[in-house]
């Protein structure tokens, strides 16, 4: 085959940088090198995206290269793209170095034309599964490209092509175009990311987490990102595809449940996390899917811990002889230090965890559940209140003002509730999947349990934990680690006088930057 200009097969042999391949594909190359199981695929380079952004159309030769790369994928998988028998379906994902709000993320199950969907139904003997896969394709393709067609074939906007290659070309173009949405531009401006980098596009054979009872999907950190403790941490969804985890459509289970249900997958996942940590010499994060009991890693990056977790991680990596003290010092930013003593719910077996969402404003608040703004105002006259709502709107403002803390079922870190909570400096947990609020009866249901108005709960706006009662709260969980780290900092700077903690770390950083450690070249 002729050498490709715009497309690269993803394998251990690829040598190019993350600038060309995008961060996602670069991570997949690493996974290949570590001998981990990765769905076969290829990447369209950022150079192709830049050509598209410059000329306003897909660069010459790209469509041919896509077709050739798909043909390779068909050969290696023994499947046929859009074919009536043993159909090949792929995922198409943006692959910029950083994930960016406003950019197209993922089209799943692309290639499931009407014919291929029938083929998948026949192959698996599971028609509902095939139709579910097709509807996920249509939904994700519509949101990415604006083309739309519901399962009944009714059309809105331009029709979805029933040709797998056309689908792929459109999806690749949609990823390119999403680089330049106003929202993405705003994000780059605010975060100092150049506008001319462009994004790569990762195309991989689908693995189906919704295939059967021994399938599923999840995300995992090699260590707890809330505390830094050296235990795997994450979420898993049995019998579902990855978009269910990200969208918050389904309530996830703690990662540890994999151990009992799929011991083989669990053992392999632990081994993968260990190998990746060994490479990064740092905590890591992976997204994974298992299909019929077989584990696939879909994405990897370093863990990027903050606050107390960053301090504990850096210190323990020294204890484990993974990194040296000077490296540990450099990994903790002086900016982490003010967050190290943010109050937290103390990790304890006795804590009765009701639910977990996304921490949107750090701090701990305890109070009685109120399911309406009016109720919150009334109850707050007597004792602190936690306002629990499906989501918030201006109609809830007086309740938000009266409450000590806020919990919402929906929304993310930029939701109305999150913005208002931070404006008021109140701990908040948003996006609690599976939480339903019945303001009529004054009750809240989550995870098969139900609590009523007036129930005492405690929320942790860092970890997103919602606990029953008043669990122990600590602000010094990482104190031992912090004292050791700062002692190392003083050794480096040679200044043992009593000073502010951030200044002690700053002084060490100044010395270390003048004398860079040789082992940093590996990072």
């Amino acid at each position: 085959m002729a050498p490709m200009r715009w497309v690269r097969a993803i394998s251990a042999r690829v040598e190019e940088t993350a600038e060309t391949l995008g961060g996602k594909a670069h991570g997949l190359v690493l996974l290949h090198r570590l001998g981990l199981r990765v769905p076969a695929g290829f990447v369209v380079t950022t150079e192709a995206c830049r050509a598209f952004l410059r000329d306003g159309r897909r660069p010459g030769g790209l469509d041919e290269e896509l077709a050739a790369a798909v043909a390779d994928l068909e050969r290696s998988t023994g499947r046929v793209f859009g074919g009536p028998r043993r159909p090949l379906a792929v995922s198409v994902r943006s692959g910029a170095g950083v994930s960016m709000p406003g950019m197209m993320n993922t089209v799943l199950n692309l290639g499931l034309t009407t014919e291929a969907t029938e083929g998948l139904a026949a192959e698996t003997g599971d028609r509902p599964f095939a139709l579910d896969a097709r509807s996920r394709f249509l939904a994700s393709f519509a949101s990415a490209t604006g083309a739309a067609e519901d399962l009944a074939g009714e059309r809105r906007g331009r029709p979805v092509p029933d040709d797998a290659n056309r689908q792929l070309e459109w999806a690749v173009e949609a990823v390119f175009a999403s680089w330049d949405t106003p929202r993405a531009r705003t994000y780059r401006t605010l975060n100092g990311i150049p506008h001319d980098l462009g994004t790569a596009v990762v195309v991989q054979r689908m693995v189906f987490g919704n295939r059967d009872a021994r399938s599923g999907t999840g995300v995992a950190f090699s260590r707890d990102p809330n505390t830094g403790e050296n235990v795997p941490y994450g979420e898993v969804l049995f019998g579902r595809q990855g978009d269910d985890v990200v969208s918050g459509r389904s309530a996830t289970r703690p990662l540890g449940e994999l151990a009992a249900r799929e011991p083989g997958v669990w053992a392999e996942l632990l081994d993968a996390l260990r190998r990746i940590e060994g490479h990064y010499r740092d905590a890591c994060y992976v997204e994974f899917t298992f299909e019929a009991g077989e584990l696939w890693i879909l994405q990897v990056r370093p863990g990027r811990f903050a606050g107390a977790a960053a301090v504990r991680l850096a210190t323990e990596l020294v204890d484990e002889r993974v990194i040296e003290r000077r490296e540990a010092l450099l990994r903790v930013s002086p900016r982490h230090l003010p967050h190290v003593r943010t109050p937290r719910i103390a990790p304890s077996e006795r804590t009765d965890l009701l639910a977990r969402g996304i921490g949107a404003c750090p701090g701990v608040a305890a109070g009685r559940v109120a399911t309406t703004a009016e109720g919150a105002v009334l109850m707050a006259r007597d004792a602190p209140v936690i306002l629990v709502r499906p989501e918030t709107s201006p109609d809830d403002m007086h309740g938000l003002a009266a409450a000590a803390g806020i919990v919402t079922a929906r929304g993310g870190p930029a939701s109305h509730a999150a913005v208002v909570a931070r404006a008021m400096g109140k701990p908040a947990v948003v996006g609690v999947t599976g939480l339903t609020v019945d303001a009529g009866s004054g009750s809240v249901a989550v995870g098969g349990r139900s609590v009523g108005d007036g129930t005492l709960i405690t929320i942790d706006g860092t970890s997103g934990e919602v606990a029953l009662g008043t669990p122990r709260v600590v602000a010094d969980a990482a104190d031992d680690h912090l004292h050791r780290l700062l002692a190392w900092a003083d050794d480096v700077s040679g200044d043992h006088s009593a000073r502010d903690e951030a200044r002690r770390l700053d002084a060490a950083h100044a010395v270390l930057r003048r004398h860079p450690p040789t082992d940093r070249a590996n990072r």
């Binding site: 709000p101 406003g102 929202r183 605010l190 990027r304 903050a306 900016r335 105002v377 007086h398 930029a414």
Partner: protein, 211 residues
């Protein structure tokens, strides 16, 4: 437009609807929301109270709020106004454009409150004027696009014109150093934006989270 006369909303409906969109509050905020004098707002509130549509709340946060009858009356009259003006199509189209801007606005509010430095997301303590200026510059850029949406809304229903003034006012005060007018005060850009969002949902009879 087929209907040459765009209706001017009656003062009592302006107050009733503003109270619906802002949640429980007092005459000062309703005056800002409606453009009516505070004394006129109070007199409308008293009449609305007599009609059983609003009720006075006492306690630590005194003010006024809608009764169930008030909510029903508001929906009926606001929908009636929309249909009488033949403005549903225009307001729906503007709402769709609003929805494109809404996530970016929330990103910007978040960037105003939180800042990632050295890979650490922390509270933006507003100690770096260059960063704040960068965020406000993006607010201004978004606001130019929002102004076009507001103009379409005001052309369809004049009462929407008030949002343009309030958004521009909030941004102007933020730019002149009153930082609480971005996300924090009850007249902040975020607050006014959220009220506009609520107003559009109520006016069009749409749920916030379509199922």
């Amino acid at each position: 437009m087929n209907h040459s006369e765009t209706p001017t909303t009656d003062a009592d409906l302006l107050v009733l609807h503003a109270l619906r969109c802002t949640g429980a509050t007092g005459p000062a905020r309703l005056s800002l929301a409606t453009g009516l004098d505070e004394s006129d707002v109070e007199s409308e509130l008293i009449d609305l109270g007599v009609a059983g549509l609003v009720t006075r709340i006492s306690g630590p946060m005194p003010g006024w709020s809608l009764t169930d009858a008030g909510r029903a009356a508001d929906i009926e009259r606001i929908t009636g106004e929309l249909e009488a003006a033949g403005a549903r199509a225009a307001v729906t189209a503007a709402y769709e454009r609003f929805l494109v801007l809404n996530p970016e606005l929330l990103d910007l509010c978040t960037a105003w409150q939180l800042r990632t430095v050295d890979g650490v997301a922390g509270v933006n303590d507003h100690s770096d004027p260059a960063y704040d200026a960068r965020v406000l510059e993006r607010f201004a850029d978004l606001d130019r696009r929002a102004a076009a949406v507001c103009a379409e809304l005001a052309a369809a229903l004049p009462r929407f014109g008030r949002y343009r003034d309030r958004l521009a006012g909030a941004l102007g005060r933020a730019a002149s150093g009153e930082l609480e007018y971005v996300t924090d005060s009850t007249a902040s850009y975020h607050t006014v934006w959220a009220e506009l969002h609520e107003d559009l949902l109520i006016t069009l009879g749409m749920p916030r989270w379509p199922r």
